[in-house]
């Protein structure tokens, strides 16, 4: 951990998660459901674009080494909330939030917080695979190089570990110098996952990571998710309810409602619970209507 970082992260957390070397397990891997500590504590979050309130009343906690899924119809604000978790909404000029997003008890929107530092700890995988127009190797080494890793052997090690971690190593180990954009869609998305885990984040945010992929590539990414949740806390936005049911431990269901102006829809959180409860006996009838396919 860098000295003088603008905010301090829970010490227990940082000392347990090594900066390098994917093979070192993080403590608390086993039985994560019970022992999990809170990573994000979101309270009464609303996100505005200018005057328009895109999503409101989001209160939920995201726990360590769990997969949390955000589901709901289009426009319900699930991606908007996800992008608050690593300050990715900063790039939208008019976006602002109300409420609070605590990351290990540190307010992510505190003026002293540097969004760059946040994103080094909270990585992201995007809807459309977006490898850099660079070689496969340089794609993965991009983040570690930013963090100052220069040694060739060290970078080689990180690249291999990360590609193995993303289940891509076997397919690309003989063509690391070729462009990442030449891979298939599913391989590109796994490359993006490798790129994200190469900086050893604590959390990986996934914004509909499979929506651009065919079923086989999707299955591989899902397998990968269940594998890497041993080491990373994952938050995934998905349109695919089966996917949420398959991969997540907890699910947040969002929906839309006509807002006060009546012209645009505001998203809101309806229910947040263990995934099996959401899909078997949800407590809100809107959730039930959605997961049983009667709505959305």
């Amino acid at each position: 951990m860098k000295q003088g970082a603008p905010h301090t992260v829970d010490n227990e957390q940082t000392s347990d998660s090594p900066l390098r070397g994917l093979s070192v397990p993080v403590s608390g891997t086993a039985d994560a459901n019970q022992a999990a500590s809170t990573v994000f504590d979101i309270k009464d979050l609303s996100v505005f674009y200018g005057d328009f309130r895109a999503v409101r009343d989001v209160t939920l906690t995201i726990r360590q080494l769990e997969v949390t899924a955000f589901i709901g119809p289009s426009g319900c604000g699930k991606t908007t909330v996800l992008r608050c978790l690593n300050r990715m909404n900063d790039f939208i000029e008019s976006a602002r939030i109300e409420g609070s997003v605590l990351y290990h008890d540190v307010d992510l929107y505190d003026p002293a917080v540097n969004a760059t530092e946040v994103r080094r700890r909270i990585g992201m995988v995007f809807q459309k695979p977006n490898p850099f127009p660079k070689s496969i190797y340089d794609n993965v080494a991009y983040g570690p190089r930013l963090l100052g890793t220069r040694s060739k052997s060290e970078l080689d090690g990180i690249v291999e570990e990360s590609l193995r971690g993303a289940a891509l190593w076997a397919e690309v180990k003989d063509r690391l110098k070729q462009s990442g954009t030449g891979l298939s869609g599913g391989q590109q998305q796994r490359l993006c996952i490798a790129r994200a885990i190469a900086v050893q984040p604590e959390v990986i945010l996934m914004d509909e990571p499979c929506s651009a992929l065919d079923p086989i590539a999707t299955a591989r990414i899902e397998d990968l998710m269940t594998e890497i949740k041993q080491k990373y806390t994952i938050v995934i936005v998905t349109h695919n309810m089966q996917q949420a049911a398959r991969v997540s431990d907890r699910t947040a269901f969002f929906t839309t409602e006509i807002n006060l102006q009546g012209d645009r829809r505001t998203g809101r959180l309806v229910e947040f619970d263990e995934t099996r409860k959401i899909f078997s006996m949800p407590s809100d009838e809107r959730t039930e209507a959605y997961v049983t396919g009667r709505f959305g």
Binding site: N130, G143, L146
Partner: protein, 309 residues
């Protein structure tokens, strides 16, 4: 729905002959439009080459190497002109590349929409300023107020003033084409970079600029071509009228290819068939080849370094 006997003959599927002919005519029209540029280009090259050959017949090759460009004394030293063109072009690019590229990066990566909506039109207006105005500005402001104040004045015109003027003229082109190239880089690439904790400056330097390299080189090549081809500023502020000695001192005047051509075209008291008039075509051809070579080099460079996104 028709059931039973469906009879389709070839005639049914052939369609309306008149429409087909009309489609053909449209295609021919658009082809002709595209062909006009090619024909004009060919025509220019033909006229230039014809005149250049005539010129080369009229003179001894030795005359192409007598120092200085004095058409009336039959001294046609190409080096004198090339050196002046290159010096002014270099000075212009030293101004235009950093300012133009910097402007483009600012507008594309940093400026808020509102700021951008103010600066962008200003640059477009700057691009529309007639070169004669910039030439006057270079002659009456840059030369006396800047060049002569900072350096020992040797003449009332200088390649430095001309070059700076041309640079000003080229900034908007450099800025505008570069900005288009930068904005064409898909936003998800930037997000991917931010997503692993890169700062904006890092993202610009490591991701956006390399991804936009083909457009940036195009901007550079067009800007250089424009700088070398710029006539008005070079003539007004850059150098002597019609003829001049060899010089590689930017504080002295220098005659560029283009300035020499303007004067040749002006004709002065020369017979229209004379060598000094035909020199116009020869210089035109040299200029033409120069920009073509620049374009080819640019293309080759782009092929080498470009990575597709």
């Amino acid at each position: 729905m028709t059931t039973g006997n469906v009879r389709i003959t070839l005639a049914d599927l052939r369609g309306n002959a008149r429409r087909r002919r009309k489609e053909q005519r449209m295609k021919a029209t658009f082809f002709a439009a595209a062909g006009v540029s090619v024909v004009i280009g060919g025509l220019i090259l033909f006229v230039l080459t014809r005149g250049a050959i005539q010129f080369l017949r009229q003179i001894d090759f030795g005359q192409l190497k007598d120092s200085g460009w004095f058409p009336r004394r039959d001294r046609f030293d190409l080096t004198t002109l090339l050196v002046a063109s290159v010096i002014m072009g270099l000075i212009a690019m030293v101004v235009a590349v950093p300012v133009g590229l910097g402007t483009a990066i600012y507008l594309s990566e940093y400026a808020k929409p509102r700021v951008r909506s103010v600066i962008k039109p200003i640059i477009e207006v700057l691009a529309g300023i007639p070169s004669v105005v910039v030439g006057y500005f270079a002659l009456r402001f840059i030369q006396p107020e800047i060049v002569e104040r900072l350096f020992d004045p040797r003449s009332n015109k200088s390649m430095l003033a001309g070059g700076l003027g041309i640079g000003i003229l080229v900034i908007p082109i450099m800025a505008s084409i570069s900005e288009d190239a930068l904005r064409a880089v898909p936003h998800p690439l930037r997000e991917a970079s931010y997503g692993v904790g890169a700062r904006k400056s890092t993202t610009t330097a490591k991701i956006v600029l390399p991804a936009a390299v083909s457009g940036l080189v195009a901007a550079f090549v067009i800007a250089v071509s424009r700088a070398i081809g710029e006539t008005m500023v070079a003539t007004m502020a850059g150098g002597p009228d019609g003829s001049g000695p060899f010089s590689r001192n930017p504080l002295e005047g220098g005659l560029t290819l283009t300035a020499a051509m303007t004067n040749a075209a002006g004709g002065t008291d020369q017979a229209v068939k004379g060598a000094s008039f035909n020199a116009l075509f020869f210089l035109g051809l040299v200029l033409f080849l120069l920009t073509m070579v620049l374009n080819l080099i640019g293309d080759r460079f782009v092929q080498r370094v470009r990575m597709k996104y």
